[in-house]
Symmetry: C2
């Protein structure tokens, strides 16, 4: 079917650019994390908490992906080493960041002064699973109010993640969410995945996430 | 650009099938609502509450759209006049229901015995905005934990909605959500939209939504 072929070509072209991004990043010893989630699960809040807690330990830049608006980039501005906002606009590119967008954003960044780039993908549990960006690690955030069935409904993004964050733990008394069932679904899809439980609002559990991130950078792309 | 043309063709082909769906529905006096939201905002819960509250008043069928799994169809089974599960599977179809999927689902339904079809779209604020299904009304659910900036970040889906539901009002004391700011953003994009505040968990505010739905059916497609 012609349409399917075209989409296949888009995915292959994306993979090629993603490999090129990865080579560039490795040459400059920049470690990149692709952060994905449904809308409102806490990607920006996780980035803000991470910037605050790792200040002085790592130089972190941020790429903000959104269909529209610059509200997230404005929140991060001043706290990160560099910030680039990407607005994905209309279909078909709107539903995920794509490697070409990241290639373009990296051109605006002082890569030799950066240890880590945190990429905030577009809020979506479907399309971002299909488009690699050249990242070293993929992180998915799920938040308690979304319900514990998300790994069953959106398996691909959870199956490919290096880490899964259960966010909004502060809401546990107020919502129906079975943490054990969620963890079982995730590890069923992806036995080696790291799972963190935290609240980007209260700060609870953030130290575990930050230690993991530091460790990843140290073993993968130590600059200093 | 060739790729863009192909996607344009996909959207046009979708619109043609959507018109055909609409003609079929109007011939059988079946009123259809397309319910869209981010993952976990409460589409299934809204459908379950609506089925319970309008039992005996309307014969309601449900089409459940998910990338994977049948968990939602199982919840609805036995309470609706008919239930069809659609699994959208892999890209590019995965990120939204499309008119051809609805055409196929309607073939399995006893349309002369049905007043209303509630379509639960795939959990996503981007792709479903682009694909019409033949529905009479489009409803977007936003839930408090997602934050009040969603209309700014995903404007198209809010701009095209006939009704916007603010769900999980029971969590208001526990999250940061400015209802006035959210309503301003929505009506800025879409001045005529109906906005409902409710909780599908506690039932608070459901009567307003059900009255609106009954009124829409009465004025559009009264069967009896």
């Amino acid at each position: 079917m012609k349409r399917i072929e075209v989409i296949q070509n888009v995915l292959e072209a994306n993979d090629t650019i993603a490999s090129r991004n990865r080579q560039l990043l490795d040459r400059h010893k920049v470690f990149v994390i692709n952060i994905m989630s449904a809308p409102g699960a806490g990607k920006t809040s996780l980035i803000l908490q991470t910037l605050t807690r790792l200040k002085g330990k790592l130089d972190i830049a941020v790429i903000e992906g959104d269909v529209a608006s610059t509200v997230d980039a404005e929140k991060v501005q001043g706290r990160a080493k560099a910030v680039v906002q990407i607005n994905t606009g209309n279909m078909p590119e709107s539903c995920s960041l794509m490697a070409a967008m990241i290639e373009s954003a990296l051109k605006d960044m002082p890569l030799d002064d950066i240890d880590v780039v945190l990429i905030e993908n577009v809020g979506n549990l479907i399309c971002p699973a299909e488009f690699t960006l050249g990242e070293h690690k993929r992180v998915v955030i799920s938040s308690l109010p979304e319900g514990d069935d998300k790994p069953i409904k959106y398996p691909l993004i959870f199956a490919d993640a290096d880490a899964v964050i259960i966010n909004k733990m502060d809401l546990l008394p107020h919502v129906d969410f079975n943490i054990a069932a969620f963890r079982r679904s995730v590890t069923g899809l992806n036995p080696k995945v790291e799972v963190f439980q935290l609240s980007t609002k209260t700060g609870q559990g953030l130290e575990g996430w930050c230690s993991w991130l530091l460790e990843q950078v140290r073993t993968n792309a130590l600059k200093r």
